[in-house]
Symmetry: C2
Subunit: 239 residues, 2 copies
Amino acid sequence: MKLEHDHSVAAIRARLSAGAKPNYIRDWVYGGIDGAVTTFAIISGVVGAELSTRTIIIMGFANLIADGFSMAASNYSGTKTEVDNLERLRRIERKHIAAEPEGEREEIRQILQGKGIEGEALESAVAAVTSNDETWISTMLVDEYGLSEVVRSPMLSAASTFIAFLICGLVPLMPYLIGSEDGFVISLVATAIVFFAIGATKATWSPQPWWRSGLETLAIGLAASAVAYAIGYFLKSVV
Amino acid sequence: MKLEHDHSVAAIRARLSAGAKPNYIRDWVYGGIDGAVTTFAIISGVVGAELSTRTIIIMGFANLIADGFSMAASNYSGTKTEVDNLERLRRIERKHIAAEPEGEREEIRQILQGKGIEGEALESAVAAVTSNDETWISTMLVDEYGLSEVVRSPMLSAASTFIAFLICGLVPLMPYLIGSEDGFVISLVATAIVFFAIGATKATWSPQPWWRSGLETLAIGLAASAVAYAIGYFLKSVV
């Protein structure tokens, strides 16, 4: 998030409304990381346990579609719940305002008092906020329930997750599909690049520099794969 | 979220501060769903492709620990990024306030004007909010950046995810560990119960009734497993 230092009214208004736009980069990044990690962990487990390349292709694709679908469906449901919940609270608050305006007005008074406004200014501010039902309800949703009023599309969130999962999860499987002889090495290198690239993309909303965010995701992905390899290697002789 | 209709000052204050406490149920629920879905999808893929029970145990455990670790690590990193970002913006805004108080005061004026406050009341409200640096900064973080000031612990988020992933992911593997003959049927029934139970738990923060939320998660989990089974069954004769 870049912080502009332009204090013109237009610039401030632009900043205030920009914060209210939905953003799907997070869905892409988390879907992509999960796709690359789970697929490459399956490959590592198979290689560690010395199972067949056939197992890699079957289990890799089964995971790719099944896990990708499940993540996307969960994201759809979670986003829809948020949207529905916001609507539900909005309806309830609207009813409360109609039925018991004094009590709801007292809530706004407490919220504004919490911001340091007092005395006559407080009464005028309360009167101003409660003069418009939409502002009244919106202030309660944001300041009482701590909700964000940014409305995300469940369908777009789910689609972003699924497509990113699919693309990033296909990368580690590629060498096995083209029947490469050094399948595991090529898969490892290609997946490492994907881990680093998605991690670097995460830096767009993080205070970390891109290379550090990239290295962090690379480290998590490689550690998870090493664990899968070790478990495969260990269980090979046990079961 | 229950909506109390008590409008005493004490009740309103209690509600305002309750909204500011971190909550880790979501980490449990999402970790649990992912653990049950991915593990059972692996089992379904193996059964669909008629691979060995040995493959189920090896790939099931490799996924359980590797994917659980990766989800927990991602959650740790994501939560830490949020906490760091909040701190970073707080520091930047503090610096801006010291360097250019008039510009930052204009931002507060725009924010309060957006809530419908005008004229003399607006000037008094702006003066009140900007009389205390903490309230000033906090108002900008919430209303300008749309951030929540609830600070979550990265360690607790990660631990909740990992433990839930492990517990829910172990359920579908259990029948295979005790060497049951009807492994797949028992695993299916036990996992279906887990899907429904976690889905019902989700209803604590959703407007849906518990049974509908439970059925929804059950449907997603079973659909993902059916997809994995179908891919295993289809690829069995292709590769």
